[in-house]
Each structure stands twice: as C-alpha cells, then as structure tokens.
Symmetry: C2
Subunit: 404 residues, 2 copies
C-alpha cells in the first residue's frame, strides 16, 4: 500500500514514525505546505520508503495531481480541519481510500445556535456518501483517538458488554504539565478553540441532534491510572455525530476534561474576539486572530521533552449489561508521555491520536477491515483493531467497572 | 500659537475638538500616519484654522520637517507611547514647546523585575534634561488626566491643604458600560496592557522607587458621584515617577480601578503571550500579538454612543492638614459620558484625557504658565489650571474629605 500523509505537524509526523515500524506500507509520501517540515519528518523516520514533498492542502487539484503522480492508494489527512474537504474531494476524485482524524467543520444554526444544530460536523462529507459508495473505495472518517478509538470502544461495548445502552459518553482527561510554561496546551489550540467554542452537540434518540451553550453540563470525572478527577464539560465532537449512525443508544455525549483554567482562557479569547478565524487588518497586513493565538503559544508537538503525565481517552457506557443488570463501564486508553517520548520521540497526545489511523490502515491493507463508502470506526468490527493496538502496537487499553 | 497635534486617534481628535472652541491658537495641524483619520478629525472640527496632514511619528526627521514647514510653536504628542521619543527628540531639535500625555516607556529590571526598577517611565526623556534647559523651551510631560490633572491635584494639595504628606495615591475608577459588547475597554487596550502588565512602580522616601508584582495591593476604593466601590490595584504609571521630583511625600502610588473581570482578561493575555509587542510570523506575515488584540476589539474612541456612565480621575492624599491634624482628602474630576457626548461628541475617557493639554497650552500661550526644560504638571502652579478647567472649559472638579 502506498500512503500519502498530508500534514507534517505533530500528528502527521507521529503517524509517520509509527508507520515506519510496520512493514505493510510499500511507500509513504509525507506532504506539507512547508516542505522543510515534511523533510524533517522524513529525516527523523530515516526509512527509504518515506519521501517528502510540498503541497497546499487547500488546493484540491494540487492534491489530486500529487496522488496521481505518486500512484497513491490511500491518503491520511493530518491537517487542521479547515483542509478536510479539499483532501476528501481529491481522494474521491482519484478513487483512493481516505482516512481523517477530524471531520468537515460545522456552522452554527443561524437564529437558534444554542438549541438547534446548523451544519453539523461531517455534514459536508456525508453529502457525498452516494458518490463514495459508487467509487467503491473506503472513506474512514474520524479515525484518530477521539473520534476514532472512542468509536471503536463504542462498537466493542455494543457488541460484547451491553444489551441496551442508555448513554455513550466520551470522556477525555489528562494530568499533563509542561515545565517552564505558565500555559501550554498539549494539543492544537486552533482545533481546541473550534471544538470548545462551537455550540456543543448532544444526541438523544427521541430528539435527534441538538446543541447547548458552550461548556454545558459540567461534571467531575475520575480518570484511571492515577490521573484522577478532572472537570469535564460538553464540547462539540465528531463521536456524537458518528455513533448514532451505526449504533443503538438513547444518548450520546462528548465531555472534555478541560479543567477550570483552560475553560476561563477559552471564554476570555471568545470575549475578546480572538477566537475568530476571519482575517483582521493589523498594521497593513491581514491575519486571523485565531492563527495569532496559535502562533503565540508554544507548538504542542515540540513540548514532549518538557511534558509530564498521562493522557486518557475513553468511553463511559451506561445501560443494561448482557446479563440484564444495570451496568456502568469506562473503556479507556492511557498514554504516559514518558513512554511515548522514550519509544517514539512523540508527546503523548499526538502519539495517541496518530497510532489509530495506522492501525486502521494495517487492517485495511491486510483485508481484516473492508468496506466502501463513508464509514465511521464503529461501522467496522472492533476486536481486530483492539487486538492489534494492544498487541503489535504495544499500547494496551482497559475496562473499568463503575458503580451503578 | 501654532500647534501640531500628532496622532488623530481618540485623544488627538478630542483635543482638536476642545481646542477649536478656544481662540488662543492661530493654527492647528492635525497629523497622523493615516491621512484619512487626520482628515476626518479636521472635517469634524470644521474650523479654517485646522489642517490635516500625514506623518509617520516613528520617523523623527519627518516630524522635524513637518514642524519646520509649518512653523509650529508647540507639539502635542497624542500617539501611543511607542512614539513618544521620536516626537520628543524632534521638538528638542527644532526648539519648540512639547507636551505629551504618556511618557517614554519603561523596561523591567533584567534580573529582579518585581522588586527593582529597570529603565523607568520617562527615564529616556529626563536623560535629555540639560539639552532641554539649554533650548529654553518647555517640555511639559505627562499632561493628560493621569498623568496630568492628578499631578495638578498633587501640587494643589501640597500648596493649600497639607503641611505634611504621608501618601499621594492616584485612584482611577469608572462605572462605564458599553451596550452590545461583552467586553469593550473604554481606553486604548495597547496602553492598558503596557501599564498593567509591567511591574507596578511605587515610591517611598526612604527607599526610592521600587517595583512589585503586577496587580499588587488590591484595595476597594469608593469613588464619588454615584460610581461607588471598584477594586483597584497597583499599576505602573507616570505620576509615581513625576510627583517625587517636585513634591514632598513619604509615599506615592497609582492604583487603577480595573475591576476583577479586566484583571482576569489581562492575566490571560499575558499567560498566552498575547501581550507581547515583538512581531510573530503568522501565515507568512509579521504581526505583533498586542496589535492583533487591539484590532480585534472595538475602537474605544468610537464607542461613545453606546457608552453609559461616568469616569473618575483623582488623587487620594493622606497626611497632616494645615491645621496640624490628620487629614485624608480625595481630589477628583468626574466626566459623565452623556455630557461629553452631547457637548463634544467624544466619549468620557478620551475627552477627560484630552482637555488637560489644551488647558495647559492656553496657560502657556497666555503666559500664566512659564518654564524651560522638562517639567511635570506639579512643577507649575495649580490654581490657574484648576480655575480655567472649571471655568471656561466648564469641567468642574471636587474635593471629598474622607475619614481619618
């Protein structure tokens, strides 16, 4: 399989490092708008199967040309979600497999944004479902960790642990700290702002998808493996849009363990208009305030050496177990930054995101996962994924039973 | 007298409007790097004595050339304080009077910034004191409202109310709100960040000038005229550097009634590095994050129609009265936004800043204030200033006795 990784930021370069340990890929092109960044990734990997090139991910025809020239079989989009659609369309036009870790962006409801959905996450992609079916290729959307592994957990719980599900509740938390920085997010601030300041989306079987005010339904969740209690709030996330398409559940939520300090920072950025993406004129040049916020902060992909702690992604499932009794179970995956740095030279959050699409690509390459059209991870069997992740990729996952 | 107003922002254009009501100026050139802004100010004033032109205030020789061409007698610097020094040097080189409302910028102590001063506010200006003496012209520095009117109050209290002063404490507070904005500062956010995030400076007779952590010594001060209680904290400000040069006091402080919300916003901007002025590279262009913050917020000079409330500038003096008994007195000046909008079409904070240099220029033009070299407002007699302000300029001030 010939893979194109588009985007050599934190997640893209971690994906390259993870892929280099495996033999299923015959060649990997790492492309970025910044050639030096792609070249750095390829130099770090130091594997003759890997090549660097420059491409502008916003330019669909340039992406198509690159796919054609290099006879690519599958593209992994590892850019920020602004560029999801041109890459998605280029993969469709060139009839190759497509994977991403962040779906097409939402737009709030014009008049009632905190109760009704407008354009939902992924809507622009699902609008092309028929065309993907016809192409015969697989568009595996949302196959990072969240969305991604959380959706695999949902399929696993649905198949193996529960007879009826009241709530599929993604819960994400960490105890990461960064030496020498008063404030240093461990993931793309651009994406975090997008997720956290958009109206959070919730799914209920009776009501369908609806939205709430940002930071709604705060809850303290006790994360495993020594991470402990973190304040979590509703955040717009792909899992809420994906899981109900393939799985039965009365309610689907996503709560992010932002903690109070981060929530206050995000509220302040919004209050000052610094979350906006539309360019402003500043001293004769045009810049997007959100891009300036991202540029002012340290690059999270480069903080690994200074980071300490663990990050946890997981799914809290509540409902009725296979035995007919109430059940409350947290399925989770923890990465210790010390481990991911020692093993891969990648910080925990980007490594945890990047491993999942590579596991998925291996399942596609070996024929264990097959499908056509646009599918979420929960549309495919969970067991081979979880076995490969914990086995050959040496990254275990866990199940914790909670009081009911 | 031929005046050059350099900077046609909020304060500069308010100064033009105030000056247009008076007859002591024979001509006024309003200059800005943005010609359209200068032209707008001149069009609003609608007085044949006023002319607009473009000049880059950072370019000392361009300012000198403009002064020469127009035979200017005095320049009023109304730019942000980054441009104080080139204007100050241009006035010295061309031997004309100089007035400003914000002095040359400080630089924190390299190793002990929250205890020791580094380069203090105005140090760069006072380094040229001998040259100004020799030129025979007057450089009247810090003649806005704070610094400015607060310094006039200090001189007045020192001459008329107190035999010994324990503390000269500037206290600034407001109850201004802006319709339709969650957050809309009523004064330049660039300058507010500069003032509030630099280490605050305090003067004590025994110790000289020293600094503290930002936002130190919080105190609730009860402002007059219905404004009420506002949380005030130490802030770096020119009065602390000016007053001890000419007046006897055991302690000099400046506390700004920022309120909790504003303090949290400033702390967050600092935490994210968005207070920095050094340019960042963002998508191929260079911008200063602080300029982006300013550009993202509404222009405070244009908010007057939507503003409600009053702003108060004043000086809390504690010590021994002329009668030998303990005395605690607040001298203050309140501007109601409704009044300044109705009378001048200017919002309260910029009007309150802009009126003082025009009153001072009138005293210089009529010979009531004379002097040479670099002087603060407290170096000149307070009575004619306060009489003219409350009389012909119709803007009264007050004295409130506090419990001792």
């Amino acid at each position: 399989m010939k893979l194109l990784i588009l985007g050599a930021g934190g997640v893209g370069s971690a994906a390259a490092k993870i892929a280099a340990r495996r033999t299923f890929l015959s060649s990997v092109v790492v492309a970025d708008y910044d050639l030096a960044r792609a070249q750095k990734t390829v130099a770090d990997v130091d594997d003759p199967r890997f090549h660097a090139t420059a491409v502008d991910a916003s330019d669909q025809s340039a992406v198509e040309a690159l796919i054609g020239e290099q006879s690519i079989d599958a593209v992994l989009g590892a850019t920020d979600p602004r560029f999801t659609m041109p890459i998605f369309r280029a993969a469709l036009a060139t009839k190759i497999h497509y994977l991403d870790m962040a779906m097409s962006l939402s737009r709030p409801h014009a008049t009632d944004p905190y109760r009704q959905t407008g354009v939902k996450l992924g809507d622009e992609q699902f609008a092309l479902a028929t065309e993907w079916e016809t192409s015969g290729k697989l568009a595996l959307v949302g196959i990072g960790v969240e969305p991604g592994l959380a959706d695999v957990f949902a399929r696993y719980a649905s198949d193996n642990l529960f007879s009826e599900i009241d709530e599929l509740g993604v819960r994400d938390g960490a105890n990461l700290t960064v030496d020498g920085y008063e404030f240093a997010p461990s993931f793309s601030i651009w994406t975090t702002i997008e997720e956290c300041l958009n109206p959070p989306v919730v799914y209920e079987k009776e009501r369908g998808w609806f939205t709430t005010e940002p930071f709604s339904e705060p809850e303290v969740f006790d994360f495993p493996d020594g991470i402990g209690e973190v304040e979590c709030v509703n955040v717009e996330h792909e899992e809420v849009l994906l899981m109900p398409r393939w799985l039965e559940a009365k309610r689907v939520t996503f709560k992010y363990g932002l903690g109070n300090e981060f929530i206050e920072v995000l509220k302040t950025l919004h209050k000052l208009g610094l979350d906006r993406t539309e360019p402003l004129t500043v001293g004769g040049v045009q810049v997007s305030p959100r891009d300036v916020v991202a540029a002012a902060l340290p690059n999270p992909a480069e903080l690994g050496e200074k980071m300490h702690g663990k990050t946890c992604a997981g799914l809290w499932v509540q409902g009725t177990g296979k035995d007919g009794r109430p059940r409350s179970t947290y399925l989770y995956h923890v990465v210790d930054n010390a481990w991911s740095m020692a093993e891969y030279g990648c910080q925990a959050v980007v490594w945890q995101t990047a491993v999942n699409p590579i596991v998925a690509l291996e399942l596609i390459a070996t024929g264990e996962w097959t499908g056509r059209g646009i599918l979420g991870p929960e549309a495919l069997p969970a067991e081979p994924f979880l076995e490969l992740l914990a086995g050959d990729y040496a990254s275990p996952w866990g199940i914790k039973e909670l009081a009911v």
